[in-house]
Symmetry: C2
Subunit: 272 residues, 2 copies
């Protein structure tokens, strides 16, 4: 993989759009989330509005369930939403024709076809003509109640364990963590039901969550993602399907969509 990336050219990389980038600030550091506006435009606009308004500042990570999710929200559920919507129609799937798609050649347990769309892990069903993002490690979604239209983005979660693909098409995914994932994954697990922290003092404070575009340019990270519609990415998948490292003796010959690395780096000119 290192050699494939070393051979990449500048055009293989896509700068993250500051409007589609969230900075979740914890005492331990910054978690960077890239948003997927083609898949959940209304939820994402609501999250942008909430973040712009400072809604998340002083909220907390309230739930960390082992091998499942870390979730943050207003513990008291009492903050005003002001310009943001209280509930949004589900954005579980889109029309396949409306989004790009780079298919993987290998079979998947859950979906007829899996691959990448806008450089996010995704699936589609040729029979229904629908496409959707899939719940790989690091994906970020919108908590909701039993009503499919009950989510609004005030309660967000990131996957911290084996891909809970049973959630696919049941919940609105808005993006994925592209940096700082270890800050969420290494949090102490909650001991209450569903991994909620049993005591308020166990909650992990969220200093703020901001859209990068709302921050001064000097405070933004210059990140870029490897484009999945490139020969470099095709080469990377092949290098991962058939590992040539000396250590591997039986190449898998296949790869799970959630095992494909989606590299993000600091723009070389930005210095590290």
């Amino acid at each position: 993989m290192a050699s494939v990336l070393a051979a990449s050219g500048p055009s293989d990389w896509r700068p993250l759009d500051p409007r589609d980038t969230l900075y979740l600030e914890l005492a331990s550091g910054r978690v960077v989330i890239e948003l997927a506006p083609h898949f959940a435009p209304h939820h994402i606009q609501n999250v942008r509005t909430l973040a712009h308004d400072g809604y998340f500042d002083g909220t907390a990570i309230v739930r960390v369930q082992d091998n499942f999710v870390a979730q943050w929200s207003d513990p008291n559920g009492s903050r005003p939403l002001r310009g943001a919507a209280h509930a949004l129609a589900a954005e579980f799937m889109v029309a396949s024709q409306d989004v790009p798609f780079v298919p993987l050649p290998d079979p998947d347990t859950y979906a007829p076809v899996v691959g990448f769309s806008d450089d996010f892990p995704a699936a589609r069903d040729p029979k229904t003509g629908r496409a959707w993002l899939v719940h790989c490690y690091g994906m970020v979604g919108v908590g909701r109640g039993d009503d499919v239209d009950s989510g609004n983005g005030t309660e967000l979660y990131a996957v911290i364990g084996h891909a809970p693909r049973q959630l696919d098409r049941n919940v609105t995914l808005i993006g994925r963590v592209v940096q700082g994932m270890e800050l969420l994954a290494a949090l102490p697990r909650g001991t209450g039901a569903l991994g909620y922290y049993a005591k308020p003092e166990q909650r992990v404070p969220v200093k703020s969550m901001r859209v990068a575009a709302d921050m001064p340019a000097s405070e933004r990270l210059q990140l870029e993602a490897l484009r999945t519609d490139t020969q470099t990415f095709t080469d990377l998948i092949e290098a991962r399907r058939n590992r040539r490292d000396e250590w591997y003796k039986v190449p898998a010959g296949r790869i799970d969509v959630c095992n494909v690395p989606l590299p993000v780096r600091v723009h070389p000119a930005a210095g590290g």
Copy 2:
């Protein structure tokens, strides 16, 4: 799932054999590992010998790589092995006919057939007549060098992220964590290459690792595992393939072998 387990009878459960149970003791608590002697008898016997001899006492967790593994060993690699072997022939696969197998009905990306063997997640290939354990979350394996026969059990790892199935058939798995997984998964990630802790003081001390059979009976946990060759387990899989909770709107209709829960409980008569 709760209702399926509530309807289970005593014969659905199998007590863990103390000879096949390891207690990894950390300052944060006990991690319990169940061994799979049908799959790696020689590695497991070596680990039993090492544990009996106190080899692991005072070693450390030296590597925690996000979305991959937590690994423990003698940081200095200088402890005497005494009666234990220095290197063992690989135990990556066994003959299918030598082990039981409860197949899952759903397709898998990596193997022709997946399911459960001795209540561990496993795979088999009818063409080759081989069966092997698979790298789900919580599975425990034996670190090795580039030589397939270079592992001896002094260096062990547990999977703490999305199943790295590319490791299947490339490394000897000896069992899985059945309790205390969150103590490994929530450890701070190492910042060195491959997730090794960069500084010795960051290592997480291993107080001891013992075979339960070597402990006084009063210090053993009375754990039992749900048998996978029972109607109760079949019902549990079905309840998970097609979630009937009010929250789920689109049942997956399928399940990944690594998403199937393998319940372990304290024996009801043991209180606890």
